[in-house]
């Protein structure tokens, strides 16, 4: 069920500023794909072009062969695309479970009248997905927090909740925007394990934007490095880390030595 994502010559302009210049790559179904580059290189913009929050100025974005550039994010969600955000955006006063259940929105049947009347179909579906959401939380070590308000959880746990929310959408293609940012080392390890398991158990294609080279190296099958809106190189993480252009533009000489 994992989706194939194809980008061809994607360009994006704001006013006169070229944010992306003819970026293209193919993510095979089931791959874990990394997107790296310095701040301002256009990674998040590219992400937004894929998720429909931006409309590329030119070029095509295909999910399983169907052109989707310019489609609204809400439509793309129907195509099996899910994403997380750089700063996890949870409903802080709602419980963790309610937050996760939001991901089930498109899978729940029925119009407003049906829900207002609490017809059996809606109630049954809600009950089933509630159970599924709890199981999902449990599987990700968050079962204990299901009924706590989200604002009582730490930043790192928010990221986990957000991931569960995206997973409850049963996506074919998952975009993760800086999942490791602000996480202490131990939690990054957990994250790596989680994403690995995702691929094995859930059959999802994953695209990750991340600065944490350790995570990129440990997880990804392929990476694309962006710089100034253009593709600098494509290959494995190891190739990227040893590519002099990447070191120059992204990792920095000394830092490359430091990063153990």
């Amino acid at each position: 069920m994992a989706a194939e994502l194809t980008l061809q010559d994607v360009s994006l302009q704001f006013g006169g500023i070229k944010v992306l210049q003819e970026v293209g790559f193919v993510v095979e179904p089931g791959q874990i794909f990394g997107l790296v580059g310095p701040n301002g290189a256009g990674k998040t913009s590219l992400f937004n072009c894929i998720s429909g929050h931006y409309r590329p100025t030119s070029g095509t974005v295909r999910i399983d062969g169907a052109e989707v550039q310019g489609a609204r994010p809400a439509t793309l969600a129907g195509h099996g695309l899910a994403r997380t955000f750089q700063h996890p955006a949870l409903q802080l006063h709602a419980t963790v479970l309610e937050n996760v259940l939001l991901g089930a929105h498109s899978r729940l049947p029925g119009g407003p009248l049906e829900w207002a009347l609490r017809l059996p179909r809606a109630r049954r579906a809600e009950r089933e997905l509630r159970a599924e959401a709890l199981e999902l939380l449990e599987r990700n070590g968050l079962g204990w927090a299901a009924h706590l308000p989200a604002d009582e959880l730490s930043h790192g746990l928010h990221k986990g909740v957000e991931l569960c929310r995206a997973l409850l959408m049963k996506p074919k293609l998952l975009l993760l925007d800086e999942p490791a940012a602000g996480l202490p080392h131990a939690e990054v390890e957990t994250l790596i394990a989680t994403v690995r398991r995702l691929r094995e158990e859930d059959d999802i294609t994953v695209v990750i934007v991340e600065h944490h080279m350790g995570l990129i190296a440990a997880l990804t099958d392929r990476v694309v490095v962006l710089d100034h809106g253009a593709k600098l190189m494509e290959g494995t993480a190891a190739q990227a880390q040893s590519d002099p252009r990447v070191i120059e533009a992204y990792i920095g000489k000394d830092a490359a030595d430091d990063a153990a």
Binding site: H155, Y250, A255, A259
Partner: protein
């Protein structure tokens, strides 16, 4: 000569005690790191110093007890806080942000010079000078946040997670600039940093916090050599 001294500082959010007796000593021109896991109380320690949380214990800056002072009074004494998440003024332009930073200064000429100095320190800001801060990239915002802080000509800089969300090379650039600033101006610093490797490029000594208490204090060299520290906090 000690510029800043914390002794047995406590703080809580509601009934939740976050600082449980933190001590810290920053010499004149010194730079001290605070390391630790999420929720260990690093950020809260900085907030206690800058007056944004109510704290107990003793906080002495330049011989004066500053505990309980309002944030703007603390700033007026020469302590500049660069908060986590940068705290730039989004609707204001880069230049306006810098001018706000110099709010307390009366020397117009000196302010103009310092703006030039900041732009020299962070060349990326040069061509964004008229942009709204909210339109800057993450790295540029971090640079702006630091630049705005030094516009007040502080004697002590509180730096909270300056590398958060930055690409390695960008984070390095920011730290390079701060190191240069330290060398050129001699501003003392308290640096909270998740990435301990990066922190050690800047600070002389550091303390490790755990559940609101100091558990280890030492020079950079000492701490860097300790295996357990490496494993637990440095991601090694």
């Amino acid at each position: 000569m000690t510029l800043l001294e914390l002794e047995g500082v406590t703080a809580s959010y509601g009934p939740v005690q976050v600082l449980d007796g933190v001590s810290l000593r920053v010499p004149d021109n010194g730079a001290v790191g605070i390391l630790g896991a999420n929720g260990a109380g690093k950020t809260t320690t900085l907030r206690a110093i800058s007056g944004t949380v109510r704290a107990g214990g003793r906080i002495v800056f330049d011989g004066k007890d500053i505990r309980g002072l309002r944030p703007d009074r603390v700033a007026a004494l020469g302590i500049a806080h660069v908060p986590e998440g940068r705290g730039t003024l989004g609707d204001l332009t880069v230049r306006e942000n810098l001018r706000v930073g110099a709010y307390l200064r009366k020397d117009a000429k000196g302010v103009a010079q310092d703006i030039d100095y900041c732009l020299d320190l962070f060349p990326n800001l040069q061509n964004r000078i008229r942009s709204n801060a909210s339109a800057l990239s993450g790295g540029e915002q971090q640079m702006l946040a630091v630049a705005r802080a030094i516009m007040s000509k502080p004697r002590l800089l509180l730096l909270d997670e300056a590398s958060l969300g930055l690409a390695p090379s960008t984070a390095k650039n920011v730290y390079d600039a701060i190191r240069r600033l330290r060398i050129e101006s001699g501003i003392a610093m308290v640096v909270v940093e998740q990435n301990a490797n990066l922190a050690f490029t800047l600070v002389d000594s550091a303390t490790v916090l755990e559940t609101g208490r100091n558990v280890l204090t030492g020079t950079s060299a000492e701490l860097r050599g300790m295996d357990e520290i490496r494993r637990a906090y440095l991601g090694g």
